[in-house]
């Protein structure tokens, strides 16, 4: 195929960049001119209708009020966690936890039971469909952003969500790092940049060194349980107490009312970023509740939350081995950085005015699209070198954690460790892998237990199994073992402490196909039609080009025939037939595409002085 061939219908598959946020999600793509947001904000809300259909996005957000018990928001806070980790948030969330949620939380939504990765998969599927609609082509590959401070299980859960949604997740990229990419900070050839990212549910701080297009993360810190949600909950609790005394009734059990109140509280919070005072305004049937909140009170309320972000900032500066004075820029990311108190606290700590030029809700998705462009080969002058946020280690004697890969190590990073047997005839060795900074195993996060099994029985200490721990560019752990006596790969069983097993993910992928087989068929037809629209539109335009008039008569006839056939197939319910005709039209227009491209290149060359 000629390099000048313009593929009308089947361009190289586009990799999209997705910001899978706590409150809102967005999808973007890299264009010739730069990253571009595709379609609108998708609220990260999923709901199961009374007829058993799962919906995601704005529609689902409406269900929060009408059907709060079958609707989930902020599911990102539950990713990669067990039920004991989230007792605090469960008090505030209206949904119910199903049985057996120790290692993976299971939510009961109507008659459906769903895990956080499945819930996130519905949001991803919605974004995928939106992107396909705009691009007019199937989307199968994505870059998804995660908080920099996400641990292994949270990252794995995000990747699982992508797989369940039918997306090949080429890379997980850290949100603050993505934001740095979007800000085009590399125009400054050398420099040190801090990215402060306070979103709906998570907080990250990262410090990067820029060097000729390389974005090298020096250190990162954060809190995966801190964000705008916490501010909402503070205001919500005040309003609930007020209502209890005004109405002489505890309404905290009325989930629909609480969600309505939550919405009112969020509106007031957002208004307070621009006005000296705002009203929490609730109308529930005949009853009303109003409460004015001024900035002074609001600031006093949220000060502890803002303060909680500053400790990680100081630690991050220290870990990066830099001083505040050396930092050239500070970038603000995440909706919560619109709050004036947050901005002033950051300005005070970093002693410089932070960048707020880009929309803090969009900048992460735009950065994800830039990273997609890097992976796709369209962006060649940039490279991200990120780090692992947490140290990785193994349990040793006495319940101690022995670190193998230290936090803030550039990834991919690796370590090898030699294991042997302690008693004669021992046939397996259990390795407990952990993440965290503390010395005791009980204070660290358990990642998984690896069982090196089928070790040949021999005298204690004779076995030699070399285990290699590799944290890949996504920040996810891969473990392999080699028997040094035989030189062969050593088999092992992996039991993740939190999250889904591979088999469970596979089952969920199948299930999502099974139950939605009809949906799926319909979708395939719809997708094929979208593609047909794209190629028909492109061909129509091409037929107006002078190159078309210069084509041999028979080739023009072949194109017209292919158009007519595709139009006929278009209204059938058979996606294969439509795709078949798309392919035929594609073949018929190949020479035309080449002619147009050649003419365009000729024109472009004429217009420029190559020696300039």
């Amino acid at each position: 195929m000629s390099t000048l061939h313009i593929d009308f219908g089947h361009a190289k598959p586009r990799i999209v960049g997705i910001d899978l946020g706590t409150t809102n999600s967005l999808v973007a793509v890299m264009d010739l001119t730069g990253p571009r947001i595709l379609s609108g904000i998708v609220p990260s809300v999923v709901s199961v209708t009374t007829s058993g259909e799962v919906i995601a996005g704005s529609e689902a957000r409406e269900m929060l009020i009408t059907h709060p018990e079958r609707t989930v928001y902020s599911a990102k806070r539950l990713m990669g966690r067990g039920v004991s980790d989230v007792q605090e948030e469960l008090k505030l969330f209206p949904f119910h936890i199903a049985e057996g949620s120790e290692s993976v939380i299971k939510l009961q939504l109507g008659d459906k039971v769903m895990t956080p990765p499945e819930i996130s998969a519905h949001i991803l599927r919605k974004l995928k469909e939106d992107a396909e609609e705009v691009l007019g082509a199937a989307v199968t590959q994505a870059v998804i952003t995660v908080p920099a401070y996400f641990n292994d299980a949270q990252r794995q859960a995000t990747k699982d969500a992508g797989r369940i949604a039918g997306l090949d997740v080429l890379r997980l990229v850290n949100e603050p790092t993505a934001a740095a990419l979007a800000y085009g900070l590399d125009k400054r050839k050398e420099g040190l940049v801090a990215v402060y990212d306070l979103g709906g549910g998570t907080f990250d701080i990262s410090i990067l060194r820029l060097h000729d297009g390389i974005f090298e993360v020096l250190a990162t810190n954060g809190d995966t349980h801190l964000g705008g949600d916490d501010i909402d909950n503070l205001l919500l609790n005040i309003a609930l107490e007020d209502i209890q005394s005004e109405w002489s009734e505890d309404v905290s059990g009325n989930a629909g009312l609480v969600q309505l109140l939550r919405r009112a509280v969020i509106q007031a919070k957002e208004a307070l970023s621009f006005a000296p005072s705002a009203m929490i305004d609730l109308e529930y049937g005949p009853r009303k509740y109003q409460r004015e909140i001024d900035v002074q009170l609001f600031n006093r309320l949220i000060e502890p939350i803002v303060e909680r972000t500053l400790g990680p900032c100081r630690n991050c500066i220290k870990d990066a081995g830099v001083t505040v004075e050396q930092l050239n820029e500070v970038v603000m990311v995440g909706g919560s950085t619109r709050i004036p108190l947050v901005r002033s606290a950051v300005e005070k700590l970093f002693r410089k005015r932070p960048h707020t030029e880009l929309n803090p809700d969009e900048v992460v998705a735009l950065g994800a699209a830039v990273q997609a462009g890097i992976l796709g080969g369209e962006v060649e002058d940039k490279l991200l070198l990120d780090v692992t946020p947490l140290s990785l280690g193994i349990e040793t004697m006495g319940g101690l954690m022995s670190k193998l890969i230290h936090r803030n190590s550039t990834i991919p990073a690796s370590a090898t460790e030699l294991f042997t047997t302690a008693v004669d005839g021992q046939t397996n060795v259990l390795i407990h892998v952990l993440q965290g900074e503390r010395e005791l195993v009980k204070d660290c996060r358990s990642l998984a237990r690896f069982d090196l099994k089928e070790i040949e029985p021999m005298i204690a200490g004779m076995a030699r199994v070399q285990v290699r721990f590799l944290i890949d560019a996504n920040g996810i752990l891969n473990v392999s073992a080699k028997d040094l006596r035989t030189g062969k790969e050593h088999s092992m069983d992996v039991k993740p402490s939190y999250g889904l097993t591979d088999d469970q993910v596979e089952a969920m992928i199948l299930e999502s196909y099974d139950k939605a087989e009809e949906d799926f068929k319909e979708r395939q037809v719809r997708e094929a039609r979208v593609e047909a629209d794209a190629i028909l539109g492109a061909t129509d335009k091409a037929r107006e080009d002078e190159a078309y008039l210069g084509m041999p008569e028979e080739e023009r006839a072949a194109i017209d025939r292919a158009i007519a056939e595709l139009r006929l197939a278009y209204h059938s319910d058979d996606h294969l037939l439509i795709r078949n005709q798309i392919e035929k039209l594609n073949q018929a227009t190949m020479a035309l595409a080449e002619a147009i491209m050649n003419a365009a290149v000729g024109k472009a060359l004429k217009g420029t002085n190559i020696n300039a």
Partner: protein
């Protein structure tokens, strides 16, 4: 030595930090998995392996102390964990002072602060003497110099642990 090979370097103890950084960035640009996302799975895996070793190597070699530790280990010399005998008396007094402060005796604070200053000074001296020894070893390849480096590293490690402990204790007690 694997880490030196990853950066295309001869195994030497004295390295130019700017040259090291440049080698790391140049190789990252070539080898990083981001450059191989559309390649075959074999190539992908190779890129990941090479980049992991490159990152591990840069991390170990950019700091003179971890670099020397790696060099010694690869040369078959293990670091000892014993206290350097010439420091024994001082360490004994220091531990007494630490105990006193833990017991609530604030008069030990001044003694600790001056000890901390003295030890921090020792760290600086240790770094300077290491730099000299690095140059001498690279020139002579003398095994005896390597032994001296090991002794200097042991001493430095011990002193740096002391500084860390004293700092921690002073901070903990000032917080109350």
């Amino acid at each position: 030595m694997k880490f030196y090979e990853a950066l295309g370097l001869e195994p030497k103890l004295a390295l130019d930090p700017d040259d090291l950084k440049k080698r790391f960035y140049d190789r990252s640009r070539q080898w990083h998995p981001d450059r191989f996302s559309r390649a075959s799975s074999g190539e992908k895996q190779r890129s990941e392996e090479m980049t992991a070793i490159l990152n591990d190597a840069f991390r170990a070699l950019r700091d003179p102390v971890t670099r020397a530790e790696y060099f010694l280990r690869e040369s078959g010399l293990e670091l000892s964990k014993d206290a350097p005998p010439e420091l024994l008396e001082e360490v004994f007094e220091l531990n007494m002072a630490l105990e006193e402060l833990r017991g609530g005796d604030e008069s030990a604070r001044a003694q600790l602060a001056s000890a901390q200053e003295r030890f921090t000074g020792m760290l600086g001296e240790a770094d300077a003497s290491l730099a000299g020894l690095f140059a001498r070893h690279d020139e002579t390849q003398d095994q005896a110099v390597l032994e001296q480096i090991r002794a200097a590293l042991n001493r430095r490690k011990y002193v740096s642990n002391l500084v860390r402990d004293v700092e921690k204790e002073l901070n903990v007690h000032s917080a109350h």
